[in-house]
Symmetry: C2
Subunit: 417 residues, 2 copies
Amino acid sequence: MHRVVVIGSGFAGLNAVKALRRAPVAVTLVASTNHHLFQPLLYQVATGILSTGEIAPPTREVLRRQANATVALGEVVALDADARSVGVRLADGTMRSVAYDSLIVGGGMVTSYFGNERFERFAHGMKSLEDALALRAQIFGAFENAQWIDEPAARAAELTFAIVGGGPTGVELAGQIGELAHRSLVAEFRSFATTQARILLFDGAPRILPTFPERLSARAAAALERLGVELHLGTTVADIDGESITVAGPDGARRRIPAHTRIWAAGVRAAPLAQIVADATGAATDRLGRLAVAEDCSLRERPEIFVVGDMMDLAGLPGLAEVAMQSGRHAARVIAARAGGDAPPRPFRYHDLGTMAAVSRTSAVASFGRLGLSGRIGWLAWLVVHLAFLTGFKNRVTTVVHWAITFLGNAREERAI
Amino acid sequence: MHRVVVIGSGFAGLNAVKALRRAPVAVTLVASTNHHLFQPLLYQVATGILSTGEIAPPTREVLRRQANATVALGEVVALDADARSVGVRLADGTMRSVAYDSLIVGGGMVTSYFGNERFERFAHGMKSLEDALALRAQIFGAFENAQWIDEPAARAAELTFAIVGGGPTGVELAGQIGELAHRSLVAEFRSFATTQARILLFDGAPRILPTFPERLSARAAAALERLGVELHLGTTVADIDGESITVAGPDGARRRIPAHTRIWAAGVRAAPLAQIVADATGAATDRLGRLAVAEDCSLRERPEIFVVGDMMDLAGLPGLAEVAMQSGRHAARVIAARAGGDAPPRPFRYHDLGTMAAVSRTSAVASFGRLGLSGRIGWLAWLVVHLAFLTGFKNRVTTVVHWAITFLGNAREERAI
């Protein structure tokens, strides 16, 4: 039986495994977490809306009925492309070797500080469940701490949330922290007004959500400002330390802003696995560390190795869940065709299904080709699409309940710190 | 305004605050967590059924409409009974002093190893949300690890779950791990049978659930054995290390059993706060460190200080949620009467509403006075009572969904590790 090893249980890897359901192959999914992660909703865990299980269904359960798929927990830390095997480090530190005939690499991205690695200690990243839980403790902890602080400047610093990065993650976090400060938490504190909180969003670009049409960026910016979020565009980060962020505005002037919560949603780069693959195969990497692939998502140097999802450098495709799902399925189709002796499928072509970002409790922007939606209509589109793409029926049910609690009842239930 | 400080957001403290809703007092609830904890369902977080938010609603949200109550996050580490103030350590390590006219102490219990403190490193406790999350990672991690182990003895050790303590927590954990091994996880692993798992329950007493009628203990024991749980009664723990547990059976013979998961549900003692109160007031403590109180739940030495819940030593009352709730409400009534110049209420008298323990997915034992229920009927009683007592309507809704998922669909959604 043709052995397929898939690395990573994200959108790319999980969809590759599922697409091999009926192929005459034996699939092993190796992942460093026991769950799939619905990354676009990570910000809702960080702001107390959803539980971890709702955006992170167990991979084993998702695949329990797929008889040709085995799930294995471990981190791939080595690749021997000649021997066709990957080296997996287990939880106890021991190593195992797993042999493949075809390999699908979907290792995803990690937070990148663009050479300012010293920022890592002082600014929360937003790529993993651990990141989101740490940020949740930080955000709700800041309000708790503020209650004990009488000195105005110290309280202001405690209640300042500095977010770097005007892409969807930064915008969605800013919007939800705004909702907390101006709506959800208002009635819960007696000794100070949570509306004193300052939420600052910094980006070097002249507008937020730069991948969206300009009109939608403007709508999103207006919705954020209605929630009290201060947008600082054309502004770059000069320094971050344990108490503050220093930025340079469009005029070049530097300002140091005391801020006890600092969030880095400004950039990503390929996970270290990409470099392991590049070293083992000679494949080229781009400036984000992504691996250059041929038009069928395989490496030119090793046609039995496929790179899918965010880690793939192909035709300038962006790091979106939809690109990951489609590329994972494409690699699976190529492998299934080879294993079955069929003609290869046509080259991978991304079908753009649109992008969206939720700005507040009742407002989102959504871009589908020439159609742009915003406000409540955009939010309804956001709701339908996200429910449709959440993995697993059961999570959809509890997620709907939690969304009703949050969006109608204005409460946050998932915030034990 | 009469100032009441309540320490602890458990069943006792939270119910004391709520019972002061209409009293002419200003209440400050000081707690070291930002949530109430529904401890009787902690085992369901540890076994992947419920999310943390479902058993740990935010204290602030529970009290958001109670205008005379303020919530403050911090740990009480000092008491000056003459000055009538408590010392609170904040998250940043600084200290604050909070003055009271009346004080209600509801600090609860911590895991006790009965002088074998070296066991703590090697056996999971089950008192806090952190305990439950650590145990969840251990339990689901054991099955993940077992998949990589081919050597039979090593795999058997990885899949051996040793639970010390035959009270409700030990029984409920054993039952749910049995459910995982024999039902929920069976279809998720390909390379070994999860039914190989051994679940061992140890207790020095001759039967499990010793506070229940003998007939119900026997029913619960039979239900556990049907789930593959091995009961070792009349058996004491001689040693626990990082790989095994050593027990002495009724015949006195020692046996060392390799077990990678070791759980200590055998005992509790009063949290360190009790000793702080004893030192500051001269109040007596019993062998569990609980504080002796008068029949109105106040300290004889300091009538303005009340001790409620598990930390209270009164008439041999057991450490049950219902005792905690009733004693918290009683202390509140005494304070309200004093503040309002009314006659004091009658001495505290515990109204026994019964006890129950869920053994498996469809079986529970419930004891209401002379009425004893078991099996499916017991389970229905368990369901109704637990839903009624869960704090907050919203949590009840998602909890019902998660219970439907688990008990009907046989799946575990909350197990990201």
